[in-house]
Symmetry: C3
Amino acid sequence: MEDGSAGPRMETNSTYNIPLVQRSSRENEMVCIFGTGDFGKALGSKMLQCGYDVVFGSRSPNNANLVPKGSEVLSHHEAAQRSKIIFLAIQRDHYSFLSRLAHALQGKILVDVSNNLKLNQYPESNAEYLAQLVPGAEVVKAFNTVSAWALQSGTLDASRQVFVCGHDSKSKQMVMEIVRTLGLTPLDQGSLMAAKEVENYPLQLFPMWKIPMYISSVLAAVIFLYCVVTEVIYSYVTTGEDYTYAIMIAIPNRVFPIVSLILLALVYLAGIIAAIIQLYRGTKYSRFPDWLDKWMLCRKQLGLVALGYAFLHVIYTLVIPIRYYVRWWMNNWAITQIKNNATAPFDPNYAWRSDAYLAPGILGFFFYVLLGITSLPSVSNIVNWREFRFVQSKLGYLTLILCTGHTLVYGWDRFIYGPFYRWHLPPAFVLSLIIPCAVLSLKFILIAPCVDRIITQIRQGWERNSKNPKKDISENGKTTV
Amino acid sequence: MEDGSAGPRMETNSTYNIPLVQRSSRENEMVCIFGTGDFGKALGSKMLQCGYDVVFGSRSPNNANLVPKGSEVLSHHEAAQRSKIIFLAIQRDHYSFLSRLAHALQGKILVDVSNNLKLNQYPESNAEYLAQLVPGAEVVKAFNTVSAWALQSGTLDASRQVFVCGHDSKSKQMVMEIVRTLGLTPLDQGSLMAAKEVENYPLQLFPMWKIPMYISSVLAAVIFLYCVVTEVIYSYVTTGEDYTYAIMIAIPNRVFPIVSLILLALVYLAGIIAAIIQLYRGTKYSRFPDWLDKWMLCRKQLGLVALGYAFLHVIYTLVIPIRYYVRWWMNNWAITQIKNNATAPFDPNYAWRSDAYLAPGILGFFFYVLLGITSLPSVSNIVNWREFRFVQSKLGYLTLILCTGHTLVYGWDRFIYGPFYRWHLPPAFVLSLIIPCAVLSLKFILIAPCVDRIITQIRQGWERNSKNPKKDISENGKTTV
Amino acid sequence: MEDGSAGPRMETNSTYNIPLVQRSSRENEMVCIFGTGDFGKALGSKMLQCGYDVVFGSRSPNNANLVPKGSEVLSHHEAAQRSKIIFLAIQRDHYSFLSRLAHALQGKILVDVSNNLKLNQYPESNAEYLAQLVPGAEVVKAFNTVSAWALQSGTLDASRQVFVCGHDSKSKQMVMEIVRTLGLTPLDQGSLMAAKEVENYPLQLFPMWKIPMYISSVLAAVIFLYCVVTEVIYSYVTTGEDYTYAIMIAIPNRVFPIVSLILLALVYLAGIIAAIIQLYRGTKYSRFPDWLDKWMLCRKQLGLVALGYAFLHVIYTLVIPIRYYVRWWMNNWAITQIKNNATAPFDPNYAWRSDAYLAPGILGFFFYVLLGITSLPSVSNIVNWREFRFVQSKLGYLTLILCTGHTLVYGWDRFIYGPFYRWHLPPAFVLSLIIPCAVLSLKFILIAPCVDRIITQIRQGWERNSKNPKKDISENGKTTV
């Protein structure tokens, strides 16, 4: 209730305001809904608006005043006989009464719209349980991702997709047709065995983001502590200076770019490890280890988390001149020079250095943002496979090179400059370069002509240890007979 | 003409360049179009490309040279007999001749594609008027959101959605099938009573944005004037200083964050008021007052306007060090110190303060942007209801807390520091904190366990004054029998 | 392999993990796939999951262990007899054997999924070649944009669209139904003549972006050289100063805004030229010259490239105060004043000037970003034609006016101030104003009531030289009978 937002207003208004007083006398398709709770009523109301005739099945058909105008309420038994399709807007706990109706439900399509309160609450999915209860009916799982509120208000922002699964194709087709008529998008999920997953879906909270978020949080925490030790505590111990205010801006602004760079490198490390495994095994036909599969499937999320950190780094950097510390320091610099009567001459070397580290950083961020935009679903939907690969691979590596270069030039002579090695610990940014440099070096080896040729062959189906070497060279994995 | 942009090029090219010289001899579905104007021709041309046979009905069937190659032109009467479906690409003013064709149109599907020049131009919609004129035919409203230019050039960016409505389901299905075949997305809008709204749709100009834009403009104007009075005019009256240049950057940069914060708070105030009303009434089954309904439906737009202002605030803030005034002031600070021989020592307190107000501001903006990205239709389409709630509610409140914190720390001691109260008026940012603090306090009360439990019960269907207390605990509004 | 990203996880998991051990005994639709390579197997596997029965046709039906569990492998001849629809997952080079199967393929639907390695590799498309080989079958082109990897892993980010073309509508409908059942989006591309383009599609690399990228690169290179000559080389020749570090930040930050402004003006110049041509010809019914057609079709891309340059300009500008050169210069300014004992008084004129050029720049960038967001496919899909025109035309011109104003105020007195004309060459920003100012002046003339009236008439179908002046006033190109 605290949230939710208006969808395309067209729909909003039409489903919200148009009274359905006058019904045409023509014969419409009849649908039956068991259950007159919130969801049943919302679904019935929406269906009436979309031209269906609706009959409700209820334990107590007499509180008919509650159902949407234009629909009927009958007993379960009578209602079932009126329609080929029956929506069960009831909770799993109450399914048991359906076994008594088995005869009336023979040959019907039962649409299970139920949800659970917890992931994997029951051993089998609600829909499979229903199929066992009423073996004579076809069970189709659908609509569980749509909320009553969304149906009523027409604000379907978060739930336009309706996952549909079931054993019988024809039944699924009929349900998917209804989904389309209601203005929603059906997505066929296969047989009823997918029902468990379909039921778990609305209970999930960004499952693909968990690993990337976890990795980035741990990384950020470790680097934050490292920086606090080598900067704040070191300053305090050695000179007694109070540098604690650095934990607000200065240290986060070290942590963010480091995490971002490492995550970006991890995105590409997965592909490199996959290529090395394929090279080593000499075939593409054996499966990758599970951890690598998972890693490869969450690369998009890893990359977007990396972009988030990069975004923060950019803003934290741009506010630098507004900070009191920096203003005071600039001011102090001028005053000190005056007092010592020693003006610092302009050093073009320093000008080169400061500009040369900023430029690749900005360009890197630009391509980073471009990568982010192309991973928006609506953008990635209209590019073809070759374009998608070009953006994600070519532009991705360009981004990695620019960001690594940015960090290297930022380092400049600090890599070897003693005072930066406090307590013999290297500055954090030095550590951040390890993975990116390794990724870029390995990639450099992998694209060497002699290695690249072998990988290309393997990806086209060639197998090193195969007796009958089949070869199916083709762009897209299309293959020979 | 001045604008428009290329859609997915695939389509662009295919509809634009491929000549349709050779038609297959097989029987295609035949469609009839009345009217050989721009829209009729564009529609016919597109249909030919998608495999339909097209016949035009015209008053003067002899200027056949104008219609797309591959189609025929006949008199209205003859053309009508060739096809089950007839598209009326004619203006409402000319519909009257159709009543003479009533016999030929008996049992046909008439697709009304017409638009009007003004909102609510006629008492009844064009489609309903048509249905009265030709009672023997099934009228379906469709295609009015698509322009001739878009059909011809294939640049359908702004109009891929086709709203379809009509009394007869079968007729609608047939029209929707054609819509899909043309590569467009049909959206069923219910019975012909929705036609008025469908006809008004292409004449609307961001109706959901009107209230948020109005509120934000009024707020911005009022705060701008307030700042001009307390800063520019006050300076001039008391010290004679010319501070007018502040109206370009300095004062807008006070107005933007204030408007942004207030709008963001208003987004969440709606939900809080709704919760209080439900608590007071003890039920969720009575409708909210109309103003609250409207408010809740435009929260997304309110939030996005707030994000716009926040974006402007960020850039206005980041240019601060580039401004001449600020550079001069920095410079003057150093010179004054030298002249007075009194160097300001470094004050860690000030460093804390300046960093502590910047950090939550940056983080707040980061989450603000995240909220904005998730409200993009293609992103919100792939998150489930729970995830959408998480982002919009949890992250939304986090953003509000961070931005309110940012403003509070910015204020620091200025809340009580006399000189900032010019003419006894508090600085504008003090006023901006009223609504956010109220929202956060009320939210804090509402999530207190004892209150939260009651709200949860109410939202699950419990009613305080109900005699037969029904209870339908379920995640998604699914309910008991 | 190096890239790709996880699609909606729902699908990912369900297609990835769910074993298909138990098949229902009911009769499912049977599909046949010729070819047991990567693509054939991936397609078969996906179809099994979506409820189809799959039979593979193979030269050597005995290596049945390779095909997905639940499917059969037969000889081509036997397999063909089992299904109405046959997918050819084989390369064009191997099509020849199909002519021997002509009898078995009589009346079947052959789905050509093949791709080529190069654009226009063969004189006719693979699908048309197939239609010639097997004249008794209906050939439908489809699925060539989908990769085996995407089908297997369910990560369909880059390839949810399936282009379908073919001569026979019924066959296309059947194939499109399968596409929908697999959770993909079919897009009807018309007759088999579109096959060539459909086959070229996955080999294209951003064809609509080529011209805008080319124009912007040439412009950027020319302006960069111009700036290097008038600033770096001029400084070196006249004063011997080493100003080379400017090529990292300072000069790019002149190039980016200039390119951005010119590109933005070019977006609107196309529409203005179109209007002038229509005015001159007195009709809208003659086609524009080809170059203008192409220009108008790539305006969106031009505008987005312009936005990219504007984005870079903004960040390059915001880092200014961080640069060593700027810090040194600020510092030096203070020291010089002290030494000369001549403090610069505050000049409100300068404050006005610096603020007055920043403000329209920021606002211009804000509207620029807004334009970019509304051109995201998912956003432009939910606005109607009038709203799209409003944003792209009204807001677009507002952006152009703000950005031109930003540049004019930036120039201020430098337009006439001698020292800026090095070697008698005007500063680059002066040149950048030519096209924008021309566009705005012409637009100003075109919206003058007397001119605007004629253009409106022409766009409503009026022709100056027409003998029978027909008039079809309507908002959307809908027209008279």
